[in-house]
């Protein structure tokens, strides 16, 4: 637990070290007297974790099967690459990723029982639900590219996580670039 709120140091006025020290002493004294800060705040656990009592509208067999664990999948120069990257607010497969998609298309065509899940993602900028749409659009682009290269539709499924599951933390171009992606997940 943070003992004091650092935001009380108004950055426009600058941090005054003397005040900082005297406040620290005051806060420490308070802490010692009351024993408060060592006590971890409790989160009331009511209401309890809910149970699902209705499965109306369930059509997604993959989801019903529970957590389908990803498999190792094939290896090779290009086949070991499982991530396709995208430009900001775009869903076209870039030239530098075409060979990766083609390698997976060739492998999946030859192994018609192998299924893959295409997980679409977006960077953190913009609205969350719109980014779900953007991630889905990217997943669908890869799905169509694979299908056009001979992969059966039954081998392919998509899911979009939008910006909710970033691959890289941080708010810079490098992290954004790593997060705008489709992950090709080989299923067991």
């Amino acid at each position: 637990m943070t003992i004091f709120d650092t935001s009380i140091f108004d950055t426009r006025m600058g941090v005054q070290m003397k005040n900082f020290v005297s406040l620290s002493v005051l806060v420490a004294t308070v802490a010692l007297l009351s024993g408060c800060p060592t006590k971890k705040p409790d989160v009331p656990d009511t209401p309890p974790q809910p149970t699902v009592d209705n499965t109306a509208g369930v059509e997604n067999a993959d989801a019903l099967a529970g957590d389908t664990t990803a498999s190792m999948g094939p290896t090779g120069d290009l086949l070991s690459k499982r991530i396709v990257y995208f430009d900001f607010d775009r869903a076209e497969i870039r030239a530098d990723s075409q060979s990766v998609v083609a390698a997976h298309a060739a492998y999946l065509s030859k192994n018609p029982n192998q299924k893959v899940r295409l997980e679409g993602h977006a960077d953190e900028r913009g609205s969350r639900e719109y980014n779900i749409g953007l991630g889905e659009r990217r997943g669908q682009t890869v799905r169509r590219a694979l299908a056009l290269q001979g992969v059966a539709e039954a081998q392919l499924s998509t899911v979009s996580y939008g910006e909710e599951r970033p691959a890289a933390a941080g708010s810079d171009e490098q992290a954004y670039g790593l997060n705008r992606r489709v992950e090709i997940v080989y299923l067991k």
Partner: protein, 440 residues
């Protein structure tokens, strides 16, 4: 500066004492900091109320009221140690004396135990400049709900002074995320508008998104990826009873309750991956498609009223913009945002006159408010990456998600952009705040 520190320390001491006394089991999980206020806040003295020990559970009612009023940035409360007198009834208030101390208003009050075990708060407001005394408001409630009663007193005082009903006795829902990717824990919380009384609604190792309140404040709809793919759930806040209302193939997202609470607008994509807006009647599971466009259509938000007017985000023109549709009409949705290349996640104000959006402002994503009558847009926030605006039920404030030193925080801003405050979490990131309705 020094004064502020001292105040913070005193508040901290008070909070600790309550906790040590075991009087306040719910520690503030969100800390409120006023980041900007009006240049000329109203000077007010909120005199400590007479206590009812032990029925009041050690709660400092006057302090709760003071914190509420100050959180709006419109009031500057007098320091208690500067108070020469501490009256608890308005007849004891010497208006001339307080005027010399440069306060415009004095609030006095009493907390009393009732014969039936309830606790009553009586407050009185004195206008020091006119000498006018306003008796009331008073609120009676259980000892456990005393904090809520104090918020209701603050609501009424705010209305008497500012002319707009306060929204302190309301709740917010928000998503909290802890841990580093890819191992993160997602939690949906409901808390009082001041961050106190936090209750966990749902938690999952998979993302939780897009919480939405039912109009009566009894239910929350949200998106969970618990099953690896998205599904929309509706959960009863008090009992925890959860119902999965949509887990169709593809995307199930962006739920919004209709004004009568009987329908849910949501975004579905089907397996083809084309996101469109649908209307689900909760009692019958009847599904009606509202948009049909190859672009991304999502983030439906009902205008107040009959539930037939829905604003939503669509990139049918090439970039995300806000459109309006009428349920049951064959007319094409009408575009309503034109300023800037990115306008998304619309929310209509309670009076139906304004639209809050996430808008791109230069290189930043900020909260904008558009006047629906004349189309003028005002940018209300100053950060670089903000999102998820949500109106307070009184329409006077917006809560949204922002960042502070790379950390997800909740922020509030008044509708005129003049005052703002920040709610920091003790741990983890907080995001997607949604302001609940007025409580009955």
């Amino acid at each position: 500066m020094k004064e502020r520190m001292k105040q913070t320390a005193i508040r901290f001491l008070a909070a600790c004492l309550f906790t040590a006394m075991g009087a306040s089991p719910a520690f503030a999980q969100l800390r409120l900091t006023i980041t900007s206020g009006v240049t000329d806040p109203i000077p007010i003295a909120i005199v400590p109320f007479s206590r009812a020990v032990p029925a009041d559970g050690g709660l400092d009612v006057a302090q709760v009221i003071q914190r509420d009023l100050e959180s709006t940035g419109r009031f500057k409360a007098m320091d208690r140690k500067d108070m020469v007198f501490t009256p608890t009834t308005s007849v004891e208030v010497d208006a001339a004396g307080w005027k010399q101390q440069r306060v415009d208003y004095v609030v006095v009050g009493r907390v009393s135990a009732q014969p039936d075990g309830q606790v009553r708060i009586d407050a009185e407001l004195v206008n020091v400049l006119t000498g006018q005394r306003v008796a009331g408001p008073f609120f009676v409630g259980s000892s456990a709900n005393l904090r809520n009663s104090a918020h209701r007193v603050a609501d009424a005082l705010f209305e008497k002074i500012i002319g707009v009903k306060g929204a302190f006795a309301t709740r917010i829902a928000y998503v909290s995320v802890d841990g580093k990717p890819p191992k993160q824990t997602y939690e949906l919380f409901v808390a009082d508008s001041d961050g106190f009384n936090r209750t966990r609604i749902f938690s999952s190792p998979m993302p939780i998104m897009s919480p939405a309140w039912s109009p009566d404040g009894e239910w929350l709809a949200y998106v969970s990826f618990e099953r690896r793919t998205s599904a929309v759930y509706v959960q009863h806040r008090r009992s925890g009873k959860q119902t999965m209302v949509s887990a169709r193939a593809g995307i199930n997202g962006a739920p919004a309750f209709s004004p009568d609470g009987k329908k849910l607008a949501l975004t579905l994509s089907g397996s083809s991956g084309n996101l469109d807006i649908y209307l689900l009647t909760l009692a019958t599971n009847e599904l009606k498609r509202l948009t049909e466009d190859p672009g991304i259509d999502t983030e439906a938000s009902f205008a107040p009223g009959d539930g037939n007017t829905i604003y939503f985000t669509s990139d049918r023109s090439g970039s995300p913009q806000v459109y309006r549709l009428t349920v049951g009409s064959t007319e094409r949705p009408k575009r309503v945002t034109f300023q800037g290349g990115y306008n998304a996640r619309p929310r209509v104000s309670p009076d139906g006159k304004q639209l809050a959006v996430l808008t791109q402002d230069g290189g930043s994503f900020r909260i904008g408010v558009q006047d629906l009558a004349n189309g003028t847009v005002q940018i209300l926030s100053k950060g670089v990456q903000e999102e998820s605006p949500s109106f307070a039920p009184n329409g006077a404030m917006l809560i949204f998600a922002g960042r502070d030193r790379g950390h997800g925080v909740l922020q509030t801003v008044s509708i005129d952009g003049l005052t703002s405050a920040r709610l920091d979490a003790d741990a983890g990131e907080v995001r997607e705040p949604v302001w609940g309705p007025f409580l009955p």
